[in-house]
Amino acid sequence: MNKQQFRCVLISDFNVDVFSGYLSNDEGFPLVETLVSPFGQVAQLLMQEDLDCWKGDSDCALIWTRPEAVIQSFNDMLAYNIPSLKEILSEVDQFAHLLLNVCGRVPFVFVPTWTIPTFHRGFGMLDMKKDIGIANTLMQMNLQLAEVFTKSSNIYLMDAQKWINTAGKYAFNPRLWYRGKVAFGNEVYKEAVKDLKAALSGVKGYAKKLVILDLDNTLWGGVVGDLGWENIALGGHDPIGEAYVDFQFTLKSLTNRGILLGIVSKNEESVALEAISKHPEMVLTLQDFAGYRINWEDKAKNIVDLVSDLNFGLQSVVFIDDNPRERSRVSEALSEVFVPEWPEDCMLYKSTLLNLRCFDAPSISKEDTERTKMYLSEQQRKDLKKSFSSLDEWLKGLEIKVTFEEICDANLHRAAQLLNKTNQMNLRTRRMSKTELAEWANRDDHKLWTFRVSDKLGDSGLTGIISLEVKNKQGLITDFILSCRVIGRKVEETMLFTAIKYAKSLGLDEIVAEYVPTPKNKPCLEFWKKSGFRFDEKNNIFTWGLKNDFPLPKYIKIIHTEKDDKKKHCV
């Protein structure tokens, strides 16, 4: 047998010949030869190790069962005779331990999670209820399997529900069952083949470890060399910009899985690096990349160069580029590099990346990793539960950071977008072009700050604006704008704190804000009414006497970024 070909023992309580056919016919790496055991004899096959199927040098076993076929108490439950959860889980525990027996017979064991046909509605609205619901019980059964499987490092529970979701309408076909005891539709098997192959690749150490990225129209929209970093599509309140930011977040998250990022791009190096370091909406910083080659040379050559520099093999590499010609060039020149087909639409980048199977890898100490994960998950759950006991606690838990800075070249584009698109939390709903906004903000008696908000769960970006016009001893709040993404996190109060502190430093007497009603900005009025400002309802005027400080909300960390050179260059 070819060394790259795996032999897989298939054990099931239903007819897996169709699945076996798809698995052994699939020409993707790695090739798999199947050894199908007679169906319906799961327990015997698991208990007896001297059977033919366990002889020879099989690389893995896949044991695929239906819960009602192997857990009698669950079968009773499907007939609405509800046994105790304890009884069911005890049976699951026994079966899971039988599965563990196989771990000593083959190097790797794969067990698809238990599912029931989508047409089985169980108890309807009660189906997720603890101790009653079939769906709830099934989840707990699968979790119990996962729990027992932590005892062995070479058994993997595979999420069959994903296969069923992807297969959709034809995931279950009762005719297939009655005619041939085939439990699932073809699409389920095809998805299972893909996941099993990815898993085999992973356990054998073929998971990808380095993602090499193009820049223009891959990490951001547009060609930075033509547009300048200020004008590339990244972030902001438009679907394209948001999609690129999201894609960058997803790439960054890969680094938490131990996957490295690199850049190979045809660009002027200085121009590209300036964009990475200066663009305020860049999620990925230069420190997130293990290395880069930014020049006008052939990308295949650059990849080889970079990969060798990082001491990786080409088989560990994924290359992502929006340009089909570059992809084709790299595929042809470097057949070991995985070059996924890439969508034209940047709004599909994130989902395409997340759907790649090439990163499926068990770590060397997988058991330990899973224990840590489970522990962390449990901690997070407890924290979340606590956090809902009060608003203050929730805010405290979020660790909100608000960074404010004056309008400048780097934030002007985004500020103008926010100004012109925000409706709900908008005091006066002024609309201005970028140039008009910059001109207004640059006048001596005007001040405009932008606010970026982040918390432990992520960065919301530039989401707030407050501007002030000084007349005699009075400060007039001209704009008070906050994206709905961050409303209610005390950012509103933090913005007022900033403006009031500044006004006090100028020795002003009071700050005044005029609310201009629109059909959409009532939330803004509601906030201001509760803000502590004196309210002249007749004229929609709010006033704060500057003898009093405005309190900075608890648990907000406020950071002032001063970049004098930015203001100077403001258009």
């Binding site: 169709v18 056919g21 798809y22 016919n25 076909n173 005619r179 041939g180 085939v182 073809n186």
Partner: protein, 102 residues
Amino acid sequence: MIDNDRVMHSIFGAIDEINGQLPKGERLEKSINTALFGNHGSLDSLGLVSLVTTVEQKIEENFGMTVTILEKMEDLENENPFETVKSLTEYLSSFLENKSNE
């Protein structure tokens, strides 16, 4: 009037599907004269089940009709419409014609 070409298109779609499950030497050609099941056909009983069920799915997709074209394997002893692509096309066209007239 049921269009024979559309019926054959559904059968060919099912053949594409089934070929993914069959070993290389046993794959079916997409041709009117391809033998499917019976004296000269290469499909075993599970292959036939797969073919029949997939054809039913394709008919549902292409004609919007839910059909059951095989109830019992024993029925095939008297008459076997699954012998070739041609016989299956004729059988299905007539079956669908009758169904649409119901």
